[in-house]
Each structure stands twice: as C-alpha cells, then as structure tokens.
Symmetry: C2
Subunit: 110 residues, 2 copies
Amino acid sequence: MTDGEPVHPALALDETVHQRFRLGIMAVLAETAECSFTALRDQLQLSDGNLSRHLRVLEDAGLVEIRKGYAGRKPCTWLKLTRQGATALRQEIAALEQLVTRIRTTDSLH
Amino acid sequence: MTDGEPVHPALALDETVHQRFRLGIMAVLAETAECSFTALRDQLQLSDGNLSRHLRVLEDAGLVEIRKGYAGRKPCTWLKLTRQGATALRQEIAALEQLVTRIRTTDSLH
C-alpha cells in the first residue's frame, strides 16, 4: 500500500460477493425472506448446474443458507441470506457506490 | 427470458468489465488520458503478472489500448481506454447503479 494515498475503492470489492451471478443471487435474496431454487434460477436465467455451483460458494462462505423442504407436497430447495450475507451485501453496495461516485466525479469519459 | 417480467439488472453486467480487477483498471484509466503500467499496478496493488493477464483480456476485447513507449529515457508501457472501453465502462456503471437502486429500494436487509 502506498503511504498516505487513499486506497482505490475497487480494492474493497470482495470476489465472493462481487462475481456477477453471485451478486445477482444475493440481490434477489435480499428482496425476500426466502426464495426457491427454481424461482431464483428463472429470475437470473441460470442453468441448474451453474446456480448450484455459485450457491455452494456462497454457502461455504456462510453468506447463504440452503434448506431442503417442501412447497406444498413437492420437494423444494429454499434459499435465504444469512445475517453475514446481508452484511457482506451491504459492504459490496457501499464499495460499488464509492467506486461509481469516484468514476462519475473524476472521469474524462465525457 | 420470462414473458412480461423485466429482466433483473444483474443480467446486464458484463463479465469482461465487471470482474473486480478489470473494473478497477478501467476506473483508474477513466481518470487519466494515459497511465503507465507501473502506476496502475501500484494503485491497484496487483502483481505484474496479474495486471498483464487482465490487460490482455481488456485489450483482446478492444477496451484498452496498450502502447510501448518511453517515460523520459526509460522504456515504459502506456495504457488508455479506447472509445469502446469508455462506452463499456459507462454501461457497467449504469447497470451497477440500477442494481444498487433496486437493492436499496426493495431489500429487507434493514
């Protein structure tokens, strides 16, 4: 780290949450108390395998809770953000807002 | 795509630009007309190899221009966003803003 110079906001992004599918998963889960695997899959247009893989990463990191249950009489997998997941998502959003603000105020894109 | 339902903003994120190191690279390049490899590396705290790898992805996608030149008499690699890169970064920022707004307005994190 360079002495005295503030750290670039991109460095505050965490790969576990920032990856675009996982960010999408966590964003959808933030909207509901609990969401079924199929609803999540359809909303994010992911394959079963791809969604499972990303859910495993999030579960291993303690950010998402996976619960096997039922929707009526049909077996169903339910997903929800853990408290730690909600915190991680809030931190990601804060980092994104900082980054976007920085680009908007200093860029030469215009 | 589900008929009638609007697409989730996470689906508008492009992996080439969204990956956190590449997003950092493009954010730094948006601040300057041209940036040296070493300045970029130091600001983002990346190794030479890691930075080179991500720059190659961005160059292959036409988003960053890599120019070998000099800084005084020392050989130096200069980097800048292409016009296409500036457009891609603007699109990423717009998608992030949409996503953040959606999470902020619909979440049950609080």
